[in-house]
């Protein structure tokens, strides 16, 4: 059976941005920018986005397109020793990531419904979150999120993933802009803008900030040797890789930067403490909406925004191993999506009852200890495939000239940077 392809260049970028944009763009980037030099944080971030982020996307898409396969096929065809097993490993990582991510997205779906019905504005957000986070009810919402993802993936690359992203991504930007405009026009919003943007060059140029910016950018772009390899494998030869990488990298960054305009002015306007992570989204911001006029409306829009950001990512996660089942086990797409969705639920469901399993097993193993190795494996596979051949591949359909330094950069600098990020992340985990 012929491999599916993207319907259009813009449809591909929408799907790639959808995969990259996730909850980290909303709850992590603005906080880091605000505390690490304000607007000046963009200096290291944008330099690294060009030097590493755009390159990373071109590496994974080139590997996918040239081998016409997801990680298992790509690593094998590239001639990487043990490629089949390494491909299997990054598939397992993806199952684990989807397993915990679906729980968080389940919380968001529950919050969206609570916002829509007005329930959220009448409760104490802290108590509401504590009652929901690790409960049997959360497991039900997790199941619903997985089934929504299954429904999109089952429809295929063009009719499912591409079509859904072509609706969700413009809607996400529209929601983001509406909410940011509302936020910056609140009384006292200025204090939030000051916190977020006032540049501190010395903080922004400190070596530690560069390392944090690098790690933030790298994880934000979803380059873990799986989703982007699969998405690249649906590219046609006439499709552009380098310009799509620029669009995806900046699309991801634009969402993250705009999220800061939404969060800080609103939080400061009502005298609350800014912060990062789940506490911001599930406790602090609902408090903001409770105090804001039109709070029900804006809370609904906000959780819809998060739902789109999350769903466009979970779709790319499930697609990785659905594609593997289609190509390696000759399974029908619909059957593969349903069966693997159920498998993900079986693996993910215990996380709804055990914070230890959720954090120490699923999150840490998949995103900290093994995840970044996927990016390294993909880079090594492309090097094994042959850097000259890869260079010819990346140039096919390119809408601008790919400089020749792409070759040594991919061969030497990029793998070294991944190792650096990996060591830094592990060091951070060990309390360094």
């Amino acid at each position: 059976m012929a491999r599916e392809t993207w319907g259009s260049r813009v449809g591909f970028v929408a799907a790639a941005v959808g995969s990259a944009v996730g909850l980290g763009n909303i709850w992590m980037f603005p906080w880091r920018a605000g505390t690490l030099g304000g607007a000046a944080f963009l200096i290291p971030y944008l330099i690294l986005l060009f030097a590493i982020g755009v390159i990373a996307l071109t590496v994974e898409w080139t590997l996918g397109r040239s081998t016409k396969g997801g990680p298992i096929v790509a690593f094998q065809k590239a001639g990487l020793p043990g490629g089949k097993y390494l491909g299997l490993l990054v598939n397992i990582v993806m199952v684990m990531i989807f397993a915990f991510y679906s729980l968080v997205l389940g919380w968001i779906l529950r919050y969206f419904i609570a916002a829509l019905t007005g329930e959220l504005l009448k409760t104490h957000p802290g108590a509401f979150f504590e009652g929901l986070a690790f409960s049997k009810e959360a497991m039900i919402w997790q199941f619903v999120v997985i089934m929504l993802t299954v429904a999109i993936v089952a429809l295929g690359v063009q009719k499912g993933i591409e079509k859904a992203n072509k609706i969700m991504m413009p809607a996400l930007f529209a929601l983001l802009i509406i909410l940011a405009v509302r936020s910056v026009t609140l009384p006292n919003a200025y204090e939030g803008l000051k916190f977020y943007l006032l540049p501190d060059i010395s903080k922004a140029l400190a070596p530690k900030t560069w390392m944090i910016a690098l790690s933030q950018m790298f994880f934000s772009l979803s380059v873990l040797g799986n989703t982007m390899v699969v998405y690249g494998s649906y590219l046609k030869e006439k499709d552009d890789i380098p310009l799509s990488a620029v669009a995806t990298a900046f699309g991801d960054t634009a969402v993250a930067v705009t999220a800061g305009f939404l969060i800080f002015p609103a939080v400061f306007a009502f005298g609350l403490e800014p912060g990062a992570g789940p506490g911001l989204v599930f406790v602090t911001l609902p408090m903001v909406f409770q105090k804001m006029s039109g709070g029900t409306f804006f809370a609904t829009l906000f959780f819809l925004l998060l739902l789109f950001a999350g769903l466009s990512s979970t779709v790319s996660m499930l697609e990785v191993y659905v594609d593997s089942a289609i190509t390696k086990l000759n399974m029908d797409r619909k059957k593969a999506a349903i069966l693997l969705g159920l498998l993900t639920f079986i693996i993910g469901a215990p996380s709804a009852l055990s914070p230890y399993y959720f954090e120490s097993i699923l999150i840490n193993i998949s995103t900290v200890y093994i995840g970044p190795l996927g990016a390294l494996i993909a880079a090594l596979a492309l090097i094994k495939f042959g850097i000259e051949k890869a260079y010819e591949e990346v140039k096919k359909g390119a809408l601008f000239e790919v400089p020749t330094f792409w070759k040594p950069w991919v061969k030497y600098v990029y793998p070294a940077v991944i190792v650096l990020i990996y060591l830094y992340t592990i060091y951070g985990m060990l309390g360094g």
């Binding site: 607007a39 540049p199 006439k238 310009l243 669009a247 900046f250 705009t258 809408l399």
Partner: protein, 34 residues
């Protein structure tokens, strides 16, 4: 005008500028090939 608003405008141009430029170029290529 206050410096913070000017910085905000610069930041938005820096991140949305390349995104709009790249999307526009991709859309033009799409139209040309269809």
């Amino acid at each position: 005008m206050d410096a913070v608003y000017i910085i905000a405008a610069i930041v938005l141009v820096i991140v949305y500028g390349p995104l709009i430029w790249a999307l526009n170029k991709l859309m033009k290529a799409e139209r040309a090939s269809s």
